[in-house]
């Protein structure tokens, strides 16, 4: 599914495309296994208990549960791109909790998914997304979208929070 769109600025090594499917790439500490997303740009492990110095790329789970979401009704300031001769189009943001990694990753929601259809606890999957730069150039990013079908979706928020391992109970 590689379509030759270059990675957005600053995101080299943040995701993979190709025959194994689109996935976000974390940095994994080679000593303790701690995951960082985005991958760290400085050496060392984020866990102060670990003296590991190296990290290797590790694909993250491609699905998770929707921890929260919001949308942007007003145009953000630069550096958010504003392609020439275009109107601002509102977009939604998702915070998705990856079950295995126990990590919450933000991303824009795919533009064809209305914010009104989102619900905390939904199963979301990562997909390739496209930003258009202020110069009008397409750039690859990641998007979140509701997974089909919604296997195991809890319709009860309390049940969801009980199962999500939320520390701020």
């Amino acid at each position: 599914m590689t379509d030759g769109i270059p990675a957005a600025p600053g995101t080299d090594g943040w995701f993979r495309e190709g025959p194994d499917g689109f996935a976000l790439l974390a940095g994994r500490c080679t000593a303790c296994g701690a995951l960082s997303f985005p991958p760290r740009t400085v050496p060392g492990c984020p866990d102060p208990a670990c003296e590991g110095a190296e990290q290797s790329p590790a694909p993250l789970s491609t699905t998770g549960t929707l921890w929260s979401y919001t949308d942007a009704r007003y145009a953000p300031p630069p550096p958010y791109p504003r392609p020439p001769d275009t109107e601002f189009s509102p977009y939604a943001l998702a915070a998705v909790e990856l079950t295995t990694e126990r990590m919450i990753v933000l991303g824009q929601v795919a533009p064809d998914v209305p914010a009104e259809t989102l619900r905390v606890g939904m199963i979301m999957e990562v997909t390739p997304g496209t930003l258009v730069s202020s110069a009008g150039v397409e750039e690859r990013v990641w998007n979140w979208r509701p997974a089909e079908p919604q296997d195991g979706l809890s319709t009860n928020d309390a049940e969801y929070s009980a199962s999500s391992g939320e520390v701020q109970a």
């Binding site: 701690a34 995951l35 997303f37 919001t70 953000p76 300031p77 295995t100 701020q168």
Partner: protein, 398 residues
């Protein structure tokens, strides 16, 4: 730390918040002169100036202590300038306090002032793909209100909070702010107006998100002995806590694009935001039950409710109940944001934590006029900002 570790708040002063468009130094000068007059001291009595930096006003903003000293007239006192996002003022006061407790200075002037552009805060200029603050805008368009929207929606899902609950916070704070001559927004609002204001980041509407403002605040901190000689020793800073988060962070706090993974490490029992006030309470030898009045960083109405729980005013999930009982309104059991809060002020970043201490000082001295919390003896101020910054300050009557 014991009570002998306290320093005195000998004087406080502010320049009213607004959208004045003047140089930030002018707001700082007005606030500094007011605080010195309140303390009964002159500018040349100051032995150290600590300036809270502003990152949106060029070089003078980065050397705020110097810019202010030059404006008030050089007299040789050393300066320090610091930046800690929303906790800048707290870090500045912590620096002052440390100098006093170490015996390096008796009289320290702490000033924060800002001139703020209208609209969303944006990252500082230039293409910096290794800066999380740049990346979140460039890749996601994730403004501060977008993060606030995520946290507010999360609260609704976890706690069953409603938009009406959030609106009630605004109604409460606008009422308090209407009584505060230093507040920018002084009109009372009703819930219907809040709920009909434009949606910015679902579920947060314009009147539920704090504005960006100009303003300036200053405090004169002194040693206890010096304050006694001045007869200005009524209010003491009992603790300033500014811990950083511990790994792993459990929430995607701004400006980061993800939380830390909890797969390989166990989070602390307290969240970062919970740790702020509780660290300060422990340092002051106090408990949440001792708090008479609180100033909390209500970047949004929803966030004020989070703070009630995180600073221990009520159990998790009980914030809406506390609000609707009127406990946190003026006249209630433990008024929160009697100043009107950020809701009524808007945010002038380096001044805001100092302004919180100004309000608590007026409250503890009985000088808060129409918004007085009667008999207040212990106050707490908390805030949280970008890049792992946050603080809590406990202030008490001598």
């Amino acid at each position: 730390m014991s009570r002998s570790d306290s320093v005195a708040v000998a004087g406080v002063g502010m320049h009213p918040w607004g959208a004045w468009g003047k140089p930030f130094v002018e707001y700082g000068m007005v606030a500094a002169r007011a605080a010195l007059a309140d303390a009964g001291l002159g500018w040349r009595d100051v032995q150290l100036v600590v300036g809270g930096e502003t990152i949106r006003n060029g070089y003078p903003g980065f050397v705020a202590g110097s810019a202010l000293s030059q404006a008030l007239g050089w007299h040789g006192a050393p300066v320090a300038s610091c930046y800690a996002a929303c906790a800048t003022g707290a870090q500045a006061m912590a620096t002052a306090r440390a100098h006093i407790l170490a015996g390096l200075a008796d009289v320290v002037l702490v000033v924060g002032a800002d001139t703020t552009p209208k609209g969303f805060f944006a990252p500082v200029g230039g293409d910096r793909p290794d800066d999380p603050d740049w990346l979140r805008f460039r890749l996601l368009g994730a403004t501060n209100p977008a993060y606030f929207g995520l946290y507010a929606r999360r609260r609704m899902a976890l706690r069953g909070s409603t938009e009406a609950d959030f609106a009630a916070v605004k109604v409460k704070n606008a009422r308090a702010g209407s009584l505060n001559p230093n507040a920018r927004f002084r009109a009372e609002v009703d819930a219907e107006t809040v709920l009909n204001s434009p949606m910015v980041s679902d579920p947060l509407r314009l009147l539920q998100i704090c504005a960006t403002s100009d303003g300036g605040a200053a405090v004169v901190l002194t040693s206890e002995e010096y304050a006694r000689r001045l007869n200005k020793d009524a209010v003491r800073i009992r603790a300033i806590a500014a811990p950083t988060p511990t790994y792993p962070r459990t929430v995607p706090d701004f400006p980061y694009l993800a939380s830390d993974s909890m797969a390989t490490a166990v989070p602390a029992a307290r969240s970062f935001r919970e740790s702020l006030a509780h660290t300060a309470y422990e340092a002051a030898g106090l408990a949440p039950e001792d708090v008479d009045v609180a100033e909390v960083y209500d970047l949004t109405t929803a966030m004020e409710l989070d703070w009630y729980e995180e600073i221990g005013l009520c159990a998790p999930g009980e914030a809406e109940k506390l609000l609707h009982e009127g406990a946190t309104a003026l006249g209630g059991r433990v008024p929160v944001n009697p100043s009107g809060g950020l809701s009524s002020f808007g945010e002038a970043i380096p001044a805001q934590a100092i302004a919180q201490v100004c309000e608590l000082t007026w409250q503890l001295r009985g000088d808060a006029g129409a918004r007085q919390v009667h008999g207040a003896r212990v106050g707490v101020a908390v805030n949280q900002g970008l890049f792992g910054h946050g603080s809590a300050i406990v202030v008490g009557r001598a």
